[in-house]
Symmetry: C2
Subunit: 283 residues, 2 copies
């Protein structure tokens, strides 16, 4: 199944038959004081720097979060969007639970964006899915619902199904729903990742949709996090993950993803691997 | 399915329901001049050093190769075996195509060893499988046959089946055959790894046997090999790999494998991960 996003003429396709797609996570003021205060002051130069760095490092899509406490989120979201498209020609992923902020960006965005995100809670689907329909956006569907986090792969599949069915009711087609398989921290529950990996395989097999993870939190609280994060990405990709929200400016992340593409037959003659190596060693 | 190996009272179980098992590859004089000349002179101190280092780094089993051109391989294999068991209490994997060398080690080995390896060629199975039966050893079965390397996962499954059937004819049970899924270099053929990964999943699903890879050669000829090797291990583990011949003294290898165990629910409360981190940071 293909989820198509675009910025003007630049189309990005998320699909199991394509190289893996990276959604750059850095444009997010949460826990980044300097970025938060500059954004609140209407200064988007750090936002632009993060946009440039991530695209240079291999991001195919950029997540944009403008949630600075106490600030006017719709105004900041629109400002951040405009700042990013001045320097980066990739599709954007608007990251907010605030429909006004999403609307402020979507109504001026020249392309097909991604919304991050709705859960399968009825009230939230009722707020987010009509926006996706109105502006022709795709949506990340996080498979929690009014009952919380489903414990088993089978329950997560059922929640994903419910979310996709409700999206169809709102006029949003299945290929525009990217299921987020819930990357819970393995330090808190040593079975968390096993359940997520099995959920990815099951949802992919049964529903055929694209699947996303926020792939940096699985290792929270543990030492040597980079080895856990890269192993997790590869394990998840083998199970059917097609996109992840992560930080491609971390070399171990971007190289692991590129290595997975190579090893899964998505890099003809290893040309991309060799080209990227040469580029790194010229700079 | 459980493949049980032992050295005296120390039993090692290779199984999908256990942490991943590392077969240390370093005791091998091929392309290691100093090791080759010292072994040929009957000096096994470097062999013992490699044994100690690999066990300290997490090897569960040690591969022992004594193939020094022009030397008396049976004598060297027995000498290397005796030297290794003086310093390492783990099961051994005797690595030779020479039945006399295998016999020289197996007949004096105090435990259940692994033989590396037979192919599915009739003549080779006729040489190796009777030794496995006689000494109660397990065998790595490499799925090439008289026709060469099978091109598709389906053909590799058929070859694995043939090898397991012939082993049964010789009295070697299925659980004592570990199928080697053929890690060909991805630089020579960009589909090589995709076919191997699909073969692992297919053979594991259809036959239930344990599966091995020699996991260091996939990246041959390419730059930044460590990222390819670690991504390959994780992708293969996700597809059903249960053991690999590799070098655990390379930190990225042992940490990636330990991270995969953690992420697949094989490290309760992440205690092994944390203990290993502490140990590294005390040293």
């Amino acid at each position: 199944m293909e989820t198509k996003l675009s910025y003007k003429d630049n189309q990005v396709i998320i699909s199991p038959d394509q190289p893996f797609k990276i959604i750059g996570e850095r444009i997010n003021p949460t826990r980044r004081k300097k970025l938060a205060s500059s954004m609140a002051a209407g200064d988007f130069s750090l936002v632009q720097e993060d946009a440039r760095l991530q695209v240079a490092a291999g991001a195919h899509i950029l997540d944009v979060n403008a949630g600075v406490p106490g600030a006017d989120e719709p105004a900041l979201m629109r400002g951040a969007m405009q700042a990013v498209i001045e320097v980066a020609e990739v599709p954007l992923c608007f990251d907010s639970a605030n429909p006004d902020a999403l609307k402020a960006a979507l109504e001026h965005y020249p392309g097909k964006a991604l919304i991050n995100s709705t859960t399968a809670e009825e009230e939230m689907m009722g707020r987010i899915l009509p926006l996706a329909k109105e502006y022709g956006a795709a949506v990340i569907g996080v498979i929690t619902d009014d009952a919380g986090i489903p414990a088993t792969p089978e329950d997560r599949l059922a929640t994903a199904k419910k979310l996709i069915d409700r999206a169809a009711d709102y006029g949003v087609p299945k290929e525009d729903i990217i299921i987020d398989a819930l990357a819970l921290t393995v330090g808190a529950d040593h079975n968390a990742s096993r359940v997520t990996l099995a959920s990815i395989a099951l949802i992919r097999r049964e529903l055929g949709v694209n699947i996303n993870l926020g792939a940096s939190n699985v290792s929270f609280g543990l030492p040597d996090r980079e080895y856990i994060n890269t192993a997790y990405l590869a394990l998840a990709i083998a199970n059917g993950l097609t996109t992840a929200i992560t930080d491609p400016t971390k070399q171990e992340i971007s190289l692991t993803i590129m290595a997975c593409d190579l090893l899964m037959g998505q890099d003809e003659y290893a040309m991309r691997w060799i080209r990227a190596y040469r580029k790194r060693n010229q700079a």
